[in-house]
């Protein structure tokens, strides 16, 4: 079976800390993997390694069969990234920010198409042509989501993407992830949100001190059991 995202004995040693201790993980197309863990557990390090922002100390990360470290540019055609706090050019409008990010990804959209993507992400129409400097955190997050969707990525790397979103927006986001997953997009989401992980994930992993200590299919657990499992590992 070919994996769209894969980690093989992935390690990352910072000068003062071993952040990742030999991660092994595979994601198939359409799979939604939710990585749970406390702050500093290694979730963001894992995402940064898949993005090629940092180089592994040992092991390798693969996107679409390509090793990230040696194909840092190529792999970015296949993935999209939404950080915990989407920050954009404040003097540009939501439409202009989206246009910039899409253009850099190689997609040249008309304004109507950009509006569709922003609308799909839940951004109110009246806000689209407004400067991002006037946006709330949630609205910026929606522009980030729109940029990920507009990129038609095969892999979504999400780092606490629903942080700051209101329950309605979070729900819409979950729905969007389900749609993308249904279209074959693999999603790797680092989150603290156990409920959201159970809701949208196909598998959940629990990371503790740089180690993936447990991986379960979400169908095998209900939300309470998942919470208990998580708390057990965090003790």
């Amino acid at each position: 079976m070919s994996y769209i995202l894969e980690a093989k004995d992935l390690r990352k040693q910072y000068p003062d800390k071993l952040a990742l201790k030999g991660l092994n993980l595979q994601l198939a197309p359409g799979e939604v993997f939710c990585l749970l863990g406390q702050n500093g557990a290694g979730k963001s390090t894992t995402i940064n390694l898949f993005l090629g922002f940092i180089e592994p100390t040992a092991g390798a990360a693969f996107i679409n069969g390509l090793e990230v470290a040696s194909n840092a540019l190529k792999i970015k055609q296949y993935l999209a990234y939404i950080p915990e706090n989407v920050l954009l050019y404040p003097h540009l409008t939501g439409l202009e920010n989206l246009s910039l990010l899409s253009s850099l990804a190689g997609f040249k959209y008309r304004e109507s198409e950009l509006r569709d993507y922003l609308g799909q992400a839940g951004l109110p129409a009246e806000a689209m042509a407004r400067r991002v400097g006037t946006y709330s955190k949630g609205m910026r997050q929606k522009v980030g989501i729109a940029s990920a969707v507009a990129k038609h990525a095969q892999v979504l790397l999400l780092d606490e993407p629903t942080s700051g979103l209101d329950p309605k927006a979070s729900n819409e986001f979950s729905e969007l992830l389900r749609q993308l997953s249904g279209q074959g997009t693999a999603v790797f989401m680092a989150t603290h949100d156990i409920f959201r992980a159970k809701e949208v994930g196909t598998r959940v992993g629990i990371m503790r001190e740089g180690e993936l200590v447990d991986v379960r299919p979400t169908t095998a657990l209900n939300t309470n059991e998942l919470e208990q499992l998580y708390l057990t590992y965090m003790q």
Binding site: F53, K74, P83, N85, L87, L88, H91, S103, L104, A105
Partner: protein, 460 residues
């Protein structure tokens, strides 16, 4: 549309949104135009003064014609008649005034000893001279780096501090392309402004369209590229905007103030020159001592230099003009080695500074622009040599009247030698400056490139 073009387009959008930068750029445009106005006005003022000098000489002659209605003793005429050696500025001087404000651009000459007259100049307010010239060269050499610093200090750190860099770098975008687009936009803006101002200045000054125009533009372009390269090195260093700003301002202070000042001190120590005042004092003492020395001793020394007048009548009277001018001449001769050492020392200092220009591109650029405009020290020394030759010609004109006792008639005024001197351009120094700047540009871009290659751009 390539990623580079997209980023360039958005750089323009970012620039337009940064009102402070737009204001600063506009301000520098206005300041540059003022620099051109200042330079052309100052040169026009000097030209006006120079044009008025022949009228003063004619006025002096008219007075002498009235005083000596008939044939006169040439000694009297030589004593009272004054004329001027004029240092005509080239049109280029408007763009780089150089030392034309501190060195006299005309010399009032009489038949007396020359050395004292060579260093006599108008009294000027030293505090006004201290502030220097606000010409186009000053704007380009001193103020343009500050604009480049303002435009570039947050070239990459802005996106990092804004938090958008992770999103940009999550696209299939080489960090080098992002940096190149940013640098290209800023370079285009700065070079457009610098070369545009130069074009306006060249047209305003009415310089002839020859190779010097290309040399000026190349010097200005390379100097701006050097500072953009320094900004690239600092950006590639990947520190915060505040640290970048401090580093760039430190580089400005180092290369525009500290290194040139230290260089001047070192060069002055390496090539000590006699004080101009000492030279003038020694000459005055030699001339005044002439009154007390035996006339035969004075004339013997004079005839050794001018043997053609050896057979003229022995001086028996208490005062004779030819004896008076002989000890004036000998006064000059007595300080000739000191004067030569003074000039040579100044030339050596200038040459050493020009050779060490690679230590400070600002110094190199300023030296080169002054050399191109003919407003540097060598141009002034050339003017002094020309004035010396003119004074020699005056002596050669008067001596036959004095020693052969030929009466000076009104018709002889028209035969008096005249002087003309125009600033020469020192293309050699300008070309050397060009190579030094080229070397500096190569070094900073190589370092910037190596830093970018060696350290991955950190998105956070």
């Amino acid at each position: 549309m390539s990623q580079f073009s997209i980023l360039l387009h958005y750089e323009w959008r970012h620039f337009r949104a940064a009102r402070g930068l737009v204001l600063l750029t506009s301000l520098l445009l206005v300041v540059g135009l003022y620099g051109i106005y200042y330079g052309t006005t100052e040169v026009a003022r000097q030209r006006r003064h120079l044009a008025e000098l022949p009228a003063l000489t004619r006025h002096s002659e008219a007075e002498l014609r009235r005083k000596f209605a008939g044939p006169a003793d040439a000694g009297e005429i030589g004593y009272y008649h004054y004329t001027f050696a004029r240092h005509q500025p080239s049109p280029w001087a408007s763009l780089a005034l150089g030392q034309r404000d501190v060195n006299p651009y005309y010399l009032k000459l009489r038949l007396l000893g020359l050395q004292g007259q060579l260093y006599a100049s108008e009294n000027v307010n030293p505090t006004k001279v201290l502030s220097g010239n606000f010409d186009l060269a000053f704007v380009l050499v001193y103020l343009f780096p500050l604009l480049i610093i303002a435009l570039c200090f947050n070239m990459l750190s802005h996106e990092r501090e804004l938090g958008i860099l992770p999103l940009l770098l999550a696209q299939p975008l080489r960090p080098g392309v992002l940096v190149a687009a940013k640098l290209t936009f800023r370079g285009g803006l700065v070079l457009g402004l610098a070369l545009g101002l130069s074009a306006v200045g060249l047209a305003w000054a009415g310089v002839p369209l020859d190779g010097r125009v290309a040399l000026w533009l190349a010097l200005v372009g390379l100097y701006c590229l050097f500072w953009l390269g320094v900004a690239l090195v600092v950006a590639a260093w990947q520190r915060s905007s505040a640290v970048n700003a401090v580093a760039l301002l430190g580089a400005w202070l180092l290369l525009l103030v500290l290194v040139p000042s230290l260089l001047q001190v070192c060069v002055a120590a390496a090539h000590p020159v006699p004080q101009g005042l000492a030279l003038t004092m020694q000459q005055r003492e030699a001339i005044h001592g002439g009154w007390d020395r035996p006339k035969t001793a004075t004339m013997t020394r004079f005839f050794a230099r001018y043997p053609q007048y050896r057979d003229t009548a022995t001086i028996r009277e208490r005062f004779a003009w030819r004896w008076y001018y002989a000890f004036q001449y000998l006064g000059d001769q007595s300080v000739a080695p000191l004067a030569a050492a003074y000039t040579q020392g100044q030339q050596q200092r200038h040459a050493l500074v020009a050779h060490l220009g690679w230590l400070s591109p600002a110094l190199s650029a300023q030296t080169s622009l002054n050399a191109l405009a003919g407003t540097d020290l060598p141009a002034h020394l050339a003017f002094q040599r020309s004035a010396t030759r003119y004074h020699d010609a005056l002596r050669a004109f008067y001596y036959p009247f004095l020693f052969k006792k030929i009466p000076f008639t009104h018709a002889d005024y028209a035969r008096l030698p005249t002087h003309a001197f125009a600033s020469p351009a020192d293309l050699g120094t300008a070309a050397r400056g060009l190579w030094q700047l080229l070397g500096g540009v190569g070094a900073v871009y190589l370092l910037g490139w190596a830093l970018l290659r060696g350290r991955a751009v950190a998105p956070r």
